[in-house]
Structure formats: structure tokens, C-alpha cells
Symmetry: C2
């Protein structure tokens, strides 16, 4: 008997499809599930299905929500004139956790990547253009990967003659960061962007 | 908005209950699930439930199976007079993968551990005693943890006057292991158990 029973194998397959989970870890997780009680496994199983059936994209910002609009777009106290553009829905929560940004978001749903065949039409750019209007501030908060920077440049270009303020997140030393461990590119940006005390 | 939609939170909770998966990883996995297509998620969800409903313990060796008997206990070609005693059902597959052991197994379902309140009655020991008979060989293949060794000692004791051969797995250098990296305890066992060439 070389292999696990079929149902265990199926579960191992399912776990190993997840990012960062190899075959061995998938085995360990599957045997752990086997030892959990019926109710816990049932809760897990239902949670998987619920996520797919209940989560949808906000019709304004494309962030995730269980309703037509996400809580941020629905909130009348948020400043609709400051638009923070992020790559993915997760990024919204990263900003929200800081409890300081009072504007709204726009989720691109990816970054431009000719290699992966992702062009402007594949991103939520037309809805972005429909949202921006004169006098608004648009904050480009894409990652500093090559694709993120390319996307930022592209957006800067197409937003150019809309009479809006386009800004980028500051690059510099992370708070608590040690100079010894900082990479040169970040240090150069920190020098360029130095502020008076 | 400080927190994820409820259904995402539920899934993050479910993932974080798994061993070795922290909150951050659980978030990453949940968002990955959100991007998978409906069918893949459905397969995953069903696999979780199937494992709990279809897997049971073999009525002879307590290994896992989808039938009354596991494929090993059912196999008439396996030597029923050589019994390998292992801690968990997973251990059976570790031995089976070597494709060399032709005997059968007995799964204890744990190890003796007074600290965790696990006494002989909590392990599959009564069914083990019912299986052993004069002339058999019993191989103690528990781990070399304190609990594993204690369990081995206990089993040696209660099998003592049954006129059966009790053996243990050899301890020594792992195949391909480098002397430089071997711990002292293993080296001592390797010396003690040296064989003539």
C-alpha cells in the first residue's frame, strides 16, 4: 500500500494548490484535519464556500465587500476627493489598519505586465477615469516593483491633463529601520526626499 | 473599516487553526482562495468534508482506511506474524513508502504521556494484546522522544511473558549522514550497534 486513501489524497491535492504549501505540509495539514472534530471541519468547509458565494467587488472602488458597496464607499464621512489607487483588495486593509487615511480607494485589480499579457484593459482603469474629476488628489500606491512602477507611470500619463493632483507614497527609511541594513536604492530615495527639521 | 468582511474573517480563523499557519499566512491563503475559481474552491470544501465522513480506523490495526479493513490487513500476502507498532496512522505510510516491510502494523494512536494525561487505556493496547500470539515478532517503532521510549519500555514489559520476539528499530548514522553533523547520542548508539563487515 503505497498511497493514502483517496479522500486523503484529494485533500492533500487541495492543500498543495495553495501558495507556499508543499506536498509534505499538505500531508501534515490533512492528517491534522482528520483529527479535528466534525464541527470544526464543517465550519472550515463552509467558510471556503461562503467566501466564494458572499464576497463580491464593490461597484465603485472594486474592493471586496459582502454588499453592493464596500463600507468605505458607503461612508459619507470619507473624503471622496482623495483617491488612493492600490493594486489589490488586500492593500486597502493595509492602509485602513493605520487608521489615518480618510479618503477613498480604487483597486486596480493587478498591475501592467506585458510579459504576463496584462494590459490597461485588464485593469479597472476605465472606472477610475470615470471617477476622477478636476481638483481631486490621486495617490498612486502601487508597489515599487517594476510592474508597479510601470503602472504608476502609465497612470500619471493618462491623468496628466485631467487637472488633478497626482502624488506618490514617500520612499525613505522605514520607521525603526537601521542604516546598516538599508539597501542603496532606498537610501538614495531617502536622501533625495530629505525634509527640513 | 478596520476588519475584513465577515466571511473572509471566518476563513482566516479556520486557516489559522491549522498547525504552523499564523494569522498573516491565513490572510494570504484566504485571499488566494478568493481568487480561485468556484470549482476549485468547491473541490477543496468537499474534500474537507469527505475526509471526515469517509475515513475510519481499520478494525484490526487502527490504521486509516475508507473500508472496514485497511488494504494492508486485507492483503493475504502480508506476514501477519510480524507486527510493527507505530504511534500514528501517518507512520504506516512512512514505512510503506520503503516498499520493503512485508508484515502488518498496529497503530497505538498516540504515546504514553502522564503530563498530557495519556495512560495505557487511552492507547490501542488491549487490541494489541489480543493480536499477539506465541512466536510472533513485534517491532517497536515508536519515535525516540521521551514519550516514545517510555511507551516502548511499557510495551516491552507487558509483552515480556508472551513468548514473542520484541525488537526495536536500529539506531545509528542516517544513510548519507555526515559524521561532523551527527549528535553524540546517535553516535554512541551507532558505536554500540556496530556490525561486522
Amino acid at each position: 500500500m503505497n498511497s493514502f486513501p483517496e479522500s486523503i489524497n484529494d485533500l492533500i491535492d487541495a492543500f498543495s494548490r495553495l501558495p507556499g504549501i508543499g506536498r509534505k505540509t499538505a500531508q501534515r495539514l490533512s492528517f491534522y484535519v482528520l483529527k479535528e472534530n466534525d464541527e470544526q471541519v464543517s465550519v472550515f468547509s463552509d467558510a471556503l464556500k461562503a467566501v466564494k458565494s458572499r464576497i463580491r467587488n464593490c461597484s465603485v472602488c472594486h474592493g471586496i465587500t459582502e454588499n453592493e458597496l464596500c463600507p468605505i464607499c458607503e461612508d459619507s464621512k470619507r473624503d471622496k476627493n482623495t483617491l488612493c489607487i492600490v493594486e489589490n483588495a488586500q492593500d486597502v486593509f493595509v492602509f485602513e489598519r493605520t487608521n489615518t487615511f480618510k479618503g477613498v480607494y480604487h483597486v486596480l485589480g493587478g498591475v501592467l505586465s506585458p510579459l504576463d499579457g496584462i494590459s490597461p484593459e485588464d485593469l479597472n482603469i476605465s472606472t477610475l477615469m470615470a471617477r476622477v474629476s478636476e481638483g481631486m488628489e490621486v495617490i498612486l500606491a502601487t508597489n515599487s516593483s517594476v510592474e508597479g512602477e510601470t503602472t504608476s507611470l502609465y497612470l500619471t500619463k493618462i491623468l496628466e491633463d485631467k487637472k488633478i493632483i497626482v502624488t506618490r507614497l514617500a520612499r525613505g527609511l522605514p520607521v525603526g529601520g537601521d542604516l546598516d541594513y538599508i539597501d542603496e536604492a532606498t537610501l538614495v530615495r531617502a536622501m533625495e526626499g530629505r525634509t527640513s527639521v
